[in-house]
């Protein structure tokens, strides 16, 4: 963006919103919004505490495991659905149902099935992320140029070669798009899991801070979480740009 002839760096609009936040906080309109400067100061003290680091480790573990399963299962299932008509007919209705279903309502069922521990949280995270990954991988394979498949076949490619050297790469731009959205959904999944299943990790911190009206702490942890999610999403967007040179020309 260019203002008065100066090119502003990316996301400089955040400064405006930060100032507004500070202003609202200073006016003491509501206890719910402390000034941003106070939140940032709290942030520094909170990050150093053992409670925060434990929460971060627990959340990171659940998140990475959940996202890992979503990717490792989601991509091959999506690709196979795109290749195999029978499998597609069999699974597509379920994928669509789960994609649009309010998964939070399922969490109590998961608690019954998998107990009140880390396992249930990881599965919740996976369930939040996996469906869009499957659907996007499938879409990526569906749009693949038929003659690329014929070409590989005519040069004697084995099914394994075709999978890893043709289908995966041809669908990669869509797959990365799906993974990015899936990961954003998984952030929701891991927090909802931590709040509903067992009060651990950031879920426990949110619970603790909001119950004790420690709004500065509450916002500080939220900012950390938003920043982490945003960073991961931006990293995947960067990966997507890396393959965009062929995405439009397949």
């Amino acid at each position: 963006m260019i203002v008065f002839g100066y090119r502003l760096p990316g996301m400089s609009s955040l400064i405006v919103w930060g100032l507004l936040w500070e202003l609202v906080g200073r006016l003491k309109l509501t206890f719910f919004v402390p000034p941003l400067s106070e939140v940032v100061a709290t942030l520094y003290t909170v990050i150093g505490t053992a409670a925060f680091q434990k929460a971060l480790a627990e959340t990171a573990y659940a998140f990475l495991a959940g996202v890992g399963f979503a990717i490792i299962i989601g991509i091959p299932v999506g690709i196979l659905m795109g290749k195999n008509r029978l499998l597609d007919e069999l699974l597509l209705p379920w994928v669509n149902v789960f994609l649009s279903a309010p998964l939070t309502a399922l969490v109590p069922v998961l608690m019954v099935l998998f107990g009140f521990g880390m396992k249930a949280i990881i599965i919740t995270t996976t369930l939040f992320g996996i469906w869009i990954i499957i659907l996007n991988s499938r879409a990526g394979v569906k749009q693949i140029n038929r003659s690329l498949v014929e070409m590989a076949h005519s040069f004697g490619a084995s099914p394994v070669d075709a999978f890893f050297k043709i289908y995966f790469w041809a669908a990669l731009p869509e797959i990365l798009g799906g993974v990015r959205i899936g990961i954003i959904r998984a952030v929701k999944g891991v927090i909802i899991g931590q709040l509903l299943i067992s009060i651990v990790g950031f879920g426990a911190l949110f619970e603790l801070y909001s119950a004790n009206f420690l709004m500065g702490h509450f916002w500080a942890v939220l900012i950390v979480l938003f920043a982490l999610a945003f960073t991961i999403s931006e990293f995947l967007a960067y990966l997507e740009r890396r393959v965009s040179y062929y995405a439009a020309k397949r």
Partner: protein, 268 residues
Amino acid sequence: MVMSQTKAAFGQAEPADYESAVSARNISKNYGAVEALRDLSLEFPRGQLTSLLGPSGCGKTTLLKIIAGLLQPSAGEVEVNGHTVTGPGPDRAFVFQDFALLPWATVMRNVAFGLEMRGVAKSEREGIAAKYIAEVGLSGFEHSYPHELSGGMRQRVGLARALSVDAQVLLMDEPFSAVDEQTRRKFQEDLLALVQHENKTFIFVTHSIEEAVYVSDQIAILLPRPSRVSEIIRPSSFRSKGVDNIRRDPEYLDIVDQIWASLRSYVE
């Protein structure tokens, strides 16, 4: 006088004093109720270029893909060098109408892809690929990506890929239809040289009458619904007169007219 020359050319289709590299025998292909090919038989002489020519929808690409082993015939069989075709094999290489290049791979990797699928080691296949990249005139573009090349250059990559696996039979599916007219003419001249220098059998699908007559040793005219071979034409005299003289040779012009006369009624 001119007509008699044409007759002489047509007459030569009969005697079989050449060896077949590829034989299609009684091929039928049905798509559900639609009969694409019916009882089609055709011989492809070794070391020569045979064109499959016909109006659109006449099944020429279907026949080519059956020979490639990419499609299974409903009845009949294809033999390549005495072996019945059951699927794709190293004795045949395919050049695609839309080039079918891997958009995420460099020219080098694309050209070497056929060898890669055959398990040739990386350094060896890149050596072979480099030779054919140079042969098709793309030296210096080894590390370019397909989207950085023009249509004509992309098809040269497709051709180099097919040549690098050193198959005896080259199957070309309207290879020049997606490139511009001037590039196409250059390709046709290069193809004549290629047929002459490489001891390979070429099967060439085209919908252009002039192109078929220009490049072919033998032209099979297919008529549609269901497809069968209606005529086989073997031009005799102008091939040796040099690329610059073919298009004004009387026999060339006669054959073009003759083919148009027989195809005219099938064009809507």
